[in-house]
Amino acid sequence: MTNSSRQISPQTLRMLAVRDARDRAAFSELFDYFAPRLKGFIMRSGTGSGQAEEIVQDVMLTVWRKAALFDPQRANVSAWIYQIARNRQIDVIRKENRPLPEDLAEPPGAEPDASQILAVEQETGQLRDALARLKPDQREIIEKAYLGELTHQEISTQTGLPLGTIKSRIRLGLERLRHELKDAR
């Protein structure tokens, strides 16, 4: 166990407290961290302050209401909230119902596996470091892509996008999914 000395991050613990104990103090801390970032994130694509706050409100309420779907063995808190925010933004701005994949149900009686949670956090940390090390112009492309500022044609022609780190994150994520599915049989 290489992870035994490490601890699950406060952010994940807060989200688990919201999920499992409906903990309002933990939710308040998540709100203070995410709400301003979400507003900045949403305004980057040209949405005005008022509408951005409406979307932030919807996103934070979804975080509270759909907390049961948070699975720290697959996604860290920021990744999970990122996806909720993009969905809501598309539903509101484009007035479309964004198609979403089927949820992968938890195997019945699955025990939370701390080492898997730590692995997800560790990989996210590596991804963060890799992005921070990019040249500014490359980082800007990545930011624009994930902020939804590039069209899919533009993303296809950006050779710098499929980062090596994303590739390794994919490989490890796939191993975890296979592991989860094996347990479910």
């Binding site: 706050e53 309420l61 920021s78 990122y82 993009r86 198609p99 996210t124 992005l131 892509a145 899919h152």
Partner: protein, 215 residues
């Protein structure tokens, strides 16, 4: 729902997955990619990874000051009753995202000639997406594309100049690919096909009739 995983060999290209995770794909393509992710563990893992990258960007974005009342209005709503949104499960060969667009009902097929049937799920400026039903041995009429076309196999299989596509396989075609998919022997081939331009059928349906058939 946990479906049986078949050996999928044709996956969603990474750039399309990134575009889907980032919300940059028009609805017709997003529906095909969401359906493929529902069937394909590899692409689900890749989608998770792109979400992780999106999460990192969210962490690093500059925050904006909030109105003073925002937090309290969110807290006021935490206990408000919520009408649960319906969750659409896979039904037969149709993945959850397709069932959502079908509103939980079976597809209503319309014949388009040669035993081929279609069910249009959405058609707009940004593109269209439909279900296609192709009897074994039957060719999808020879067509070429104006732009991007995604075809996901849901039942049976088809083959064309580029290879064989079975259940869960995704074919990505563009204007450079002039292909003739033929449904293989066995079960009729059912596909989910999205395009950002009306398909230009060359032989079966004269171009004048295209607006009529919406193909």
């Amino acid at each position: 729902m946990r479906g049986k995983m078949t050996a999928i060999t044709h996956h969603t290209p990474d750039a399309l997955l990134a575009a889907y995770a980032a919300g940059s794909l028009p609805q017709p393509f997003a529906l095909v990619v969401a359906s493929h992710i529902s069937l394909c563990l590899d692409c689900r893992a890749a989608y998770d990874a792109h979400q992780a990258a999106g999460g990192v960007v969210l962490d690093t974005v500059a925050g904006e000051d909030l109105s003073e009342s925002l937090k309290s209005s969110v807290f006021d709503l935490l206990d408000a009753p919520v009408v649960p949104e319906p969750v659409f499960q896979r039904s037969g060969v149709y993945p959850g995202p397709v069932m959502e667009v079908l509103d939980g009902k079976p597809p209503r097929w319309k014949p388009v000639g040669g035993g081929v049937r279609q069910c249009i799920l959405s058609a707009a400026e940004a593109g269209s997406v439909r279900l296609l039903y192709i009897p074994p041995g039957q060719a999808v009429p020879d067509h070429s594309h104006n732009g991007l076309e995604l075809t996901l196999v849901l039942q049976g299989s088809f083959s064309d100049e580029t290879g064989r596509f079975g259940v869960g396989d995704l074919e990505v075609a563009d204007e450079h690919l002039d292909h003739t998919p033929v449904a293989d022997a066995g079960a009729p081939c059912i596909c989910l096909a999205a395009t950002d331009a009306p398909l230009r059928f060359r032989t079966l349906v004269p171009r004048l009739l295209q607006p009529l058939f919406r193909i």
